[in-house]
Amino acid sequence: MRDIEELIKEYCAQHLPPEPAWIGVLNRRFPKISSWMDSAKSVQREIEDHLRDSYEAALSKGQSAEDAWRLEQERFGDVAVISREIQKARAQSCKCMMVRFLAVVALFVLPLGEIARIRIPAFFSPSLLFFLAACMGVGFLITRRRDWDSLRKYAFYGAWLGLIWAMVYTIIHVKDPSKLGAGAAIMLLSTFYGLFLAAPKSHGLVSIAMMLLCHVGVLIPLARFGLLSFYPDKIDAGLLGMTAALSLVSVLVSLAIFDIRKLPRRLAGVAAFSMVFAYIQILGNLTRSNASLLAFIFATSLPPLTAVLITMQFQKLQRLLLREAN
């Protein structure tokens, strides 16, 4: 009988879908980076490990090498079908994560877009649509499964590229206010188009809606009192206090009505989000009054953090009660 390593490798190579050429290049040039990027490789390695373990266990029970290998193939099942199922599960998870990320980004750039006064006709940007279509087309051509689902998946990548491009553009032109609007518009539009094209097929629309609601819950009070403005001249103690209270209430209310078990994690996300926003405000207003900026940081980050702490205590109590009840 031939070496088992060889047999397993050959068996997997026969039954698993071949890797696309560009992944092969990545694997050879950047083995460390590509090992976590390349889910197909990871799945193959996992299956190979299983086959090896099982084969060795059968040998240790006294079976002959041929019998052990034959039985193992029967016991494991159809490798190609199993690999496809795994890839499907992993793709759904990636898609869900990307939708969440894009939803956050969309909400982050919305107020910027509002400030830059993006007009409705600007939403129908032919060049951006062309850019996204090109990304989808390239994605479609390089994937193994050339179907509508994978086409949609690449709308995400297009949106990401558009977003990064716009961020770089905005950073480069940060000193020229006339260019900021255009940068914000591209960020907003690429994210919007990406979400629009990909979201209907992705999983977790309910979670996107939840996330939208919770972030809007924080942003609306902030925007209402002019705190999202690039110029923090309007900040005063009364408004800050009211904003803090409103954002705390809105976070708690918008999240508590959904899934209490996920509260701390989501609240931590909101807290991080508002803190990042506050830091961007600081960077944009370095020469302005330090006192008002510090107050701004507290107003935006403290309420969600307080909410996290309150909720964690509440959760502990809930777990205690559950344990008692069981």
């Binding site: 099982s54 199922e85 795994i86 078990r261």
Partner: protein, 111 residues
């Protein structure tokens, strides 16, 4: 004994979670522990565990990562998350109520 596909499918996630609740393990180890604990009653097609593991990972009920095993080789090992533990408690409770109800109906029909 061969079980129907639907019956196995509906309990796979709970079985995996309960095995991982006793400690992290890789795919083969999970199958082995399930076989051992069930006295060989579950004769699964071993490969079917992997799609189930990846689905549970997507739902954030378990976490999988490549770690170095004692042999020096990298292995993908799965561990249950806090969310997974809560799901397991709720699944176990549900299963207990459901199986008792089915059992009492069956007993009544043979009595």
């Amino acid at each position: 004994m061969k079980f129907r596909k639907e019956l196995v499918g509906s309990t796979t996630a709970t079985l995996i979670l309960s095995v991982l609740n006793t400690g992290s393990a890789h795919g083969y180890e999970i199958v082995r522990r399930i076989n051992e604990l069930s006295d060989g009653i579950f004769e699964w097609q071993e490969g079917t565990i992997y799609p189930a593991l990846h689905k549970l990972e997507a739902k954030e009920l378990i976490r999988g990562e490549w770690v170095e095993a004692s042999s020096g080789k990298m292995r993908r090992v799965y561990a249950i998350t806090g969310e997974g533990r809560r799901a397991l408690i709720s699944d176990a409770k549900e299963w207990s109520v459901y199986s008792k109800a089915v059992e009492s109906i069956l007993e009544a029909s043979y009595a």
